[in-house]
């Protein structure tokens, strides 16, 4: 049976250093990221014959391709929110395996700071039309943080999860940001700092929420044979799975997230088990996103996430070093940060941080999971398991 298992490799992964970009457009920073990802692989923009991208900022895939002078054989603007770039990687591998194209460039870049766009607390003003299903959400004051907060409050109610347990996720992630010179926030913080920070949407405090930054990133995916000619060590797609959770017509268990669907698919394709995983990148729009995703991925039982994240389990010396770049909680979050999860997984597997505290020791298998959309209404989940030679 055909499978995406080892069907393609990631040969370029580049995170743009900018976190605030008043002088360069969202087009330019993602083109610069593309240049970086291609250069490290020993490729140029002329080698690209497939292009994939997504944005919340209104840029169409064709416009971004035009900016880079691309006339690719395949263009794909699939937008699933923050998980898009993991889905792109899977679709790139499928297209490559089918012989549809061979070198796929995936880019992302947005500048919410420089254009003054609120993300988590933006809310909606009166507008000409409020279509289905928004009609049943924004009139009641939906903000993204409040939607996630509903999942958090329900998790606390059902399982006794505490704000201090959620805070531990933010504290561990901040410690990791301290090892990343490019991270937006690097000063250590404590559980008390988190639970005493300003309430945004109870039970989520300011420091339970991701940062807002500008930023860009790029990936290059290619065939096994082409990967062997590239300058970088190939990182292989071993397993991938997708899932979608929505309101289920008013019959939903909100503490189970889409990862519960995507994770078994990814593990089955990869042929590995949870205990084989050396490194985790789990989308962290909010602390509760990490906790519920870890449960639904199957790293712990449902309801046990609070205890699971305590005691340093997600730290560099813990069982599952997680979000080692500092995550959305401290490193960067331009709106849809899935691409940065894949970039960090690739870099850990290649050993790019060897000789520094940020390198996960003997990192052979990395799992990244992207969440796109809003946990308390509808979201996609894409789980990807990556490995090295």
């Amino acid at each position: 049976m055909p499978s995406l298992h080892r069907s393609a490799a990631i040969v370029g992964a580049y995170e743009h250093p900018t976190r605030k970009s008043p002088d360069k457009s969202a087009y330019q920073i993602q083109a610069e990221a593309a240049r970086g990802a291609l250069a490290e692989a020993g490729l140029t923009i002329r080698d690209v014959d497939g292009f994939m991208t997504a944005s919340r900022q209104g840029m169409q895939a064709a416009e971004i391709a035009e900016y880079m002078g691309l006339n690719p054989k395949m263009i794909d603007g699939t937008n699933l929110g923050g998980s898009s770039f993991l889905a792109h990687t899977a679709r790139a591998a499928a297209a490559i395996a089918a012989g549809y194209c061979e070198v796929v460039l995936i880019t992302y870049g947005e500048t919410p700071i420089s254009i003054g766009r609120a993300i988590g607390t933006g809310g909606s003003d009166r507008q000409n039309a409020t279509p289905w299903p928004e009609s049943f959400e924004t009139p009641y004051g939906l903000i993204i943080a409040a939607s996630y907060a509903n999942v958090a409050s329900r998790h606390m109610y059902e399982f006794g999860t505490t704000s201090e347990q959620l805070a531990e996720i933010a504290v561990t992630t901040r410690r990791h940001a301290g090892m990343n010179p490019g991270a937006m926030f690097r000063d250590p913080m404590t559980v008390a700092d988190v639970v005493n920070s300003r309430m945004i949407a109870w039970p989520l405090h300011l420091l339970d929420c991701c940062v807002i930054s500008d930023g860009a990133g790029a990936l290059v995916v290619t065939s096994a044979s082409r990967a062997r000619q590239c300058k970088t060590k190939p990182v292989w797609l071993l397993g991938v799975g997708e899932g979608l959770a929505h309101q289920s017509a008013g019959h939903r268990d909100y503490t189970t997230v889409a990862a519960a669907q995507s994770s078994p698919r990814a593990f089955a394709m990869a042929g590995v088990t949870h205990k084989d995983i050396d490194h985790l990148m789990v989308y962290d729009s909010f602390t509760i996103t990490v906790l519920t995703t870890l449960e639904s991925l199957g790293f712990c039982k449902k309801g046990e996430g609070g205890a699971f994240v305590q005691g340093g389990r997600l730290g560099m010396d813990g069982q599952y070093p997680t979000n080692t770049d500092g995550g959305g909680l401290s490193n960067n979050h331009p709106g849809m940060r899935g691409i940065f999860l894949v970039i960090e997984s690739v870099k850990q597997l290649r050993g790019d941080f060897a000789g520094t505290p940020r390198q996960v020791k003997d990192c052979k298998l990395s799992l990244c999971h992207g969440t796109g959309g809003t946990l308390g209404t509808r979201h996609s989940g894409v789980t990807m398991i990556l490995g090295r030679d």
Binding site: S124, P131, W132, F136, I143, A152, S153, R198, A201
Partner: protein, 138 residues
Amino acid sequence: MAEYLKPVPTPDPDTKKFWEYAKSHELRLPRCTACSLLFYPPQGLCPRCLGDALEWVKMRGTGVVYSMSVVYANRSKGFKDEVPYIFGYVTLDEDVQMLTNILFKGDPFQVKIGAAVEVVFDDATPQVTLPKFRLRAG
């Protein structure tokens, strides 16, 4: 009267009936006559079997809080002066969830998950009434 600045639902073919009932202060939800799914939000056909023979069932108007958030930060014009407000899911007695506001006077944390609530109708504009909830007395 102050200008209403919050988003207002746009009744459309999927939702027109729901908003008409709400305007007459009735909470009615569609139920599929083929597979009997009672669902929310309303839509023109059943999201389980795609059948389009629906009946509009009157709800008792009571339920319990399933989940909630007390919102302190919303930068939009209509909500920025209304914080804190409660944005949450209510599970109706008929076993279907609705995303809504739970109204309160004074301390928002009088409202708790699991608390009994009842529907109230907020005549937001001359055209549209929003079903919301408040703690049930007694």
